[in-house]
């Protein structure tokens, strides 16, 4: 048996067991076995097959790549202790089956992989913390996590979101959703979300928005059954 440990920074977010003959899919879409709801990760990002010969990783033409121990790969065999990086998340491979015992990692190696910063390897991630103030401004984007597909760059100073087709971003109907449900405005100090109308009020990271609120990188916006993510793209 093999176990994949999903980590974000130092936090373990999940453990996934797989037996020979099984496959684990990793991606943003909820059809995957390992679902990571962040935009750096593609809808269907990569898969890991437990073949007779061992664990095999395949990158599913993901946008930002899949890395094994810091090296970008399109496909690779995995051994115990390997660290697979997707976006800012890491999957640590732990083999427990007898035939994999040969590959059992030393404790020192385990220690080494733990300090790797997955974020640093994924060089093509959409946003970075050390954005220079005087450099080119990042484009803000909202991307559908649920209820729609694709991403919408917020190129306008005022972007309207709602069920009416006159909006810049049209979201799923439902009578609780406003004709224009909310807007996002670019102000000197950032992007602000304002609630406009409809029974369904937008939520930012699960919290209801009163009148308006400043948006932060990677905030999730929920409206009715739709889920969007706000982020800054270089």
């Amino acid at each position: 048996m093999a176990t994949l440990i999903l980590k974000y920074e130092d936090e373990i977010q999940g453990k996934y067991d797989l037996e020979e003959g099984q496959t684990i899919h990793v991606g943003r879409k909820d059809t995957n076995d390992v679902v990571v709801e962040t935009l750096i990760i593609s809808g269907n990002h990569c898969k890991i097959d437990f073949l007779k010969e061992g664990l095999h990783l395949t990158d599913l033409k993901s946008k930002n790549g899949t890395f094994v121990n810091g090296k970008k790969v399109t496909s690779s065999w995995l051994k115990s202790g390997d660290e697979v990086t997707v976006g800012k998340h890491a999957l640590i491979v732990a083999m427990t089956s007898e035939e994999a015992m040969d590959f059992e990692f030393e404790e020192d190696d385990m220690g080494k992989t733990m300090v790797l910063d997955p974020g640093r390897q994924a060089a093509e991630e959409p946003a970075d913390d050390d954005e220079p103030l005087d450099g080119s401004e990042p484009t803000a984007v909202i991307s559908f996590l649920k209820g729609g597909q694709g991403e919408v760059p917020l190129t306008k100073r005022l972007t309207k979101v709602g069920k009416d087709f006159s909006n810049d971003v049209v979201i799923g109907g439902g009578f609780t959703i406003g004709q224009t449900a909310f807007t996002i405005s670019k102000l000197p100090d950032g992007y602000y979300l304002s609630y406009v109308g409809g029974m369904a009020k937008p939520k930012i990271n699960g919290r209801s928005v009163g009148e308006s609120a400043l948006l932060h990188d990677f905030d999730t916006i929920e409206i009715g059954s739709d889920k969007l993510q706000f982020y800054l793209k270089k």
Binding site: K156, D164, T183, L187
Partner: protein, 276 residues
């Protein structure tokens, strides 16, 4: 259409001989402008006046001729058509003031700030060049929605720690103004209007003397005309070193959703015709 209630007040202050501020306020046109002029020999007054007249004249033509005015070519895709109009009016005013400045020796180097707000069916646009602030009061919070084009503000943006290195003379040194150069770039913001939103546009004669929190306190609890008086009086009490101008606009009522839809459809239809 959004129903608005507004008031404006200007005062020469206690130290200056003339008033170089100009303002415009019209609830039918739903346009509000504050301009703080600069330049000796009354040139500042001329500059701020010219700006206000040009902006309101341009915006009025759109309303009266129902949009059959040639749009300026240098429109910004990130802004709505209505916002582009206000920006265009500011750019036109820049050329007018600049030509005036070049026409006579006494006008050399004259210029003005501009902070203008106009309303559309459901939103408002705030455009500015210079350091006359535009405040938005919403949800009992106050924030500045204009951009300060001063050496100090821009330096602070690049180097948050370095502010103290600059002398006091830089706090009002503008990096941009209307009329001083052939072309200028304005900053613009568009926001959806909400009931009870209050906008305060002022010259620095007010904002130098009264803190944002005090503006919030004074404006939130009284009607626009009374609030204008309180703000001007407070600035006068604290020295009145400069001309003081305050314009306050309150969103009284938003139109019903139904009217928005019809209005929008007819507008799109018109646009389609134009393209042919």
């Amino acid at each position: 259409m959004i129903t608005l209630e507004s008031a404006a007040l200007t005062d020469v202050g206690k130290k200056r001989k003339g008033n170089e501020d100009s303002f415009f306020r019209d609830d039918d046109l739903q346009l509000y402008v504050v301009a703080d002029g600069m330049g000796g020999h009354q040139a500042g007054e001329v500059a701020s006046n010219l700006l206000v007249e040009t902006v309101q004249g341009y915006m009025r033509r759109f309303q009266e001729e129902e949009g059959d005015v040639d749009e300026l070519e240098d429109s910004d895709d990130s802004l709505s058509q209505e916002a582009n109009r206000l920006v265009s009016s500011v750019y036109l005013a820049n050329r007018v003031v600049n030509q005036f400045a070049l026409s006579r020796d006494t006008y050399t180097g004259m210029g003005t700030t501009v902070s203008a707000v106009s309303f559309t069916e459901d939103s408002f646009v705030a455009v500015n060049v210079g350091d006359s602030p535009i405040f938005l009061i919403r949800d009992n919070k106050i924030q500045v929605i204009s951009v300060f084009h001063t050496v100090e503000a821009e330096q602070a943006l690049l180097d948050p720690e370095g502010k103290s290195k600059l002398g006091k003379q830089f706090s009002h040194m503008l990096t941009r103004a209307i009329g001083t150069k052939e072309s200028v770039e304005a900053d613009a913001t568009e926001l959806i209007a909400k009931k009870d939103d209050i906008l305060v546009i002022s010259s620095d004669g007010m904002s130098d003397k009264v803190k944002a929190e005090e503006v919030l306190d004074l404006v939130a609890k009284s009607k626009p005309d009374k609030a204008c008086r309180s703000l001007v009086n407070l600035a006068l009490d604290r020295g009145g070193d400069d001309n003081i101008t305050v314009v306050i606009i309150k969103v009284k009522k938003l139109k019903s959703t139904k009217t928005t839809k019809t209005a929008k459809t007819s507008k799109t239809a018109k646009k389609g015709k134009k393209k042919k």
